[in-house]
């Protein structure tokens, strides 16, 4: 057995004209494709998490109980629809949960498989909105529990938003300033960014998130079942934020508003605000969401932290080198043939 046997065949073969088209596939994907793949990986993680034993448990301690809990505090007509869905899951936990998992796994694999990118991204938008309604109770937005620290306005909304911003079309003109501009155009992308972060600033300042113990209670909730090192960290955070809910809410609001304005600034300042957005997303993910509670078991997704970071990356200013643009056909990405398929 030699090392050559374990190496990809494509790379061992001598260069051939017919194989040149495949080089784009072998090489590094462009930024948009990379972000699509990260999104695909998150969907796949979600799908596999959906197969945990906890999800198949009927009753209040299982997935249907979790869904039923999402109805609480919502308007009657919303709560009724959530309860209706959870009752179906309650009576058929195996079939429904298996189906939910399969759909999410297929979305993840579909985004990764180039011929199915568009249909999978479209499906992810539909599925995300459904999960936001029936699985997240509209992110708690309607009853003041939608603070971004806890995942508001609903982590799954960011999946849908990213599917739109990473849609494989070219509407960003000759030299799009960032990845998200390629799909919806520069002005629309900037407007979306501003709306998202202003909404988050708004949600931070309303409802339970700004109460003195609001952040403390969120950290206390996610601490249950976590590994000892993380639980210890949480206790330290809890003591720091105790009775400081309003102060933290004000600080976060200012941060979100600065981030919202960031994409309208010159590239160096825009980069600084994007870094601020990513750091904020990471801090929220670690301390407010405990990595989506994946380590505690029973999580359905990694929550909004990684999605916020992914969203910020899709707005990272890019410089199109003349040679790269020349090498690519109009409408293609930096990697030419690669982008054609995505």
């Amino acid at each position: 057995m030699t090392i050559s046997q374990s190496e990809p065949i494509a790379a061992q073969d001598p260069p051939q004209p017919s194989a040149s088209k495949a080089e784009g596939l072998v090489g590094r994907p462009d930024m948009r494709r990379l972000l699509q793949l990260v999104l695909a990986a998150i969907w796949l993680v979600d799908g596999v998490l959906q197969l945990q034993a906890f999800m198949f448990t009927p009753g209040p301690n299982g997935f249907s109980g979790m869904l039923t809990g999402m109805a609480e505090g919502n308007p009657h007509w919303v709560a009724q629809s959530i309860t209706w869905n959870s009752s179906i899951v309650y009576h058929h936990p195996g079939i429904t949960n298996g189906l939910f998992a399969l759909i999410q796994i297929l979305i993840g694999l579909g985004i990764a498989w180039r011929p199915a990118v568009k249909v999978s991204l479209a499906a992810s938008v539909v599925w995300s909105l459904g999960v936001w309604w029936f699985g997240e109770g509209l992110g708690g937005v309607l009853h003041g529990d939608g603070t971004p620290v806890g995942g508001g306005p609903g982590a799954v909304l960011f999946y849908a938003l990213l599917a739109v911003l990473l849609w494989p079309v070219e509407h960003g003109g000759e030299h799009p300033a960032f990845v998200a501009a390629r799909a919806v155009g520069q002005d629309a992308a900037k407007a979306i960014w501003a709306v998202v972060w202003i909404l988050m600033a708004f949600l931070t300042m309303i409802g339970s998130g700004r109460s003195p113990q609001g952040i403390h209670d969120i950290v206390d909730d996610v601490r249950q079942g976590e590994p000892s090192w993380l639980a210890t960290l949480d206790r330290h955070v809890e003591s720091l934020v105790s009775q400081q809910g309003l102060t933290i809410a004000i600080v976060l609001t200012v941060v979100f508003l600065v981030v919202a304005a960031g994409v309208f600034l010159r590239p160096p300042l825009a980069r600084a605000t994007l870094v601020l957005a990513m750091v904020t997303g990471a801090v929220i993910w670690v301390f407010g969401q405990n990595f989506g509670m994946i380590l505690a078991g029973g999580a359905t997704d990694p929550n909004s932290g990684p999605l916020l970071i992914l969203l910020a990356l899709s707005y990272w200013p890019v410089q199109a080198s003349p040679s790269t643009r020349t090498a690519s056909s109009p409408g293609l990405g930096a990697s030419g043939g690669l982008a054609q398929a995505v």
Binding site: I3, A10, A22, G27, A53, F54, A112
Partner: protein, 236 residues
């Protein structure tokens, strides 16, 4: 916690299919004199059958101790080739990143298998897979490490699926990349996609040749990564 047995049997059936296919692939490639990723396919066969035994303990074919030895040897083997490649080419030598990733991910898979055995897999026959996440049996290990291994495997599945198109005949315009058509040894391919092995006459196209398509090997890898990640996440 109750756990649907049909899910364990479904994944077990998938792993049996992958193992049997990879075994057949090894035999077919040898009979046709085609080059094949022998080490990868052997790894897939072994990991597939081992996972079947974890999912459905009654179907376990080897003692746990023996499986541990097998996967320890496998991990060392792939570690050796990872180190060898990095030593010769550097970690970031483009476009060799896939060459590093290939033995590296199989080393991670072998280590994941060892990790699961060390945490007490498989369950006793009566517990089956349905008790995997019950407290105490098996041990949950370190959730961070468990989740990390699972996520690495899922990322590998996504990455492989992304590049699976490089083996498509329609994309490459040649069957060279779509089929494992290089003969044993390192003989170069000719323009038609057929190849000679060790200076022998050009090989005939065999009816079973499409079964050796690298895309199928990649698909097996993806199925294996997803299944293994699923088993790991059950232990968090």
């Amino acid at each position: 916690m109750p756990y649907p047995s049909w899910l364990a049997y479904t994944f077990a059936a998938l792993m049996i299919a992958v193992s049997v296919y990879c075994l057949g692939r090894l035999i077919l490639a040898r009979r046709l004199g085609r080059r094949n990723h022998t080490d990868v396919n052997i790894a897939h066969v072994l990991m597939g059958f081992a996972m079947v035994g974890m999912l459905v303990p009654d179907w376990n074919v080897l003692p746990v101790g023996l499986w541990e030895v097998v996967f320890a040897v496998m991990a060392i083997y792939f570690l050796y080739f990872t180190v060898l490649h990095v030593a010769n080419n550097g970690l970031l030598a483009a476009p060799a990143s896939d060459h590093v990733a290939h033995p590296l991910i199989h080393m991670v898979m072998a280590c994941s298998m060892l990790y699961m055995y060390w945490l007490g897999m498989p369950m006793s026959s009566s517990d089956h897979m349905m008790g995997m996440s019950m407290s105490g049996a098996p041990s949950t290990g370190d959730p961070l490490l468990t989740a990390f291994l699972a996520i690495v495997l899922l990322v590998s599945a996504i990455r492989q699926l992304d590049v699976i198109g490089r083996f498509s005949p329609s994309r490459t315009g040649s069957r060279t990349l779509a089929l494992s058509t290089v003969g044993a040894g390192s003989a170069p391919t000719n323009g038609s996609g057929s190849a000679t092995g060790n200076g022998a006459a050009p090989m005939e196209t065999h009816a079973l040749e499409p079964l050796l398509a690298p895309r199928l090997e990649v698909a097996c890898h993806i199925a294996m990564c997803v299944t293994m990640a699923y088993m790991l996440l059950l232990m968090v």
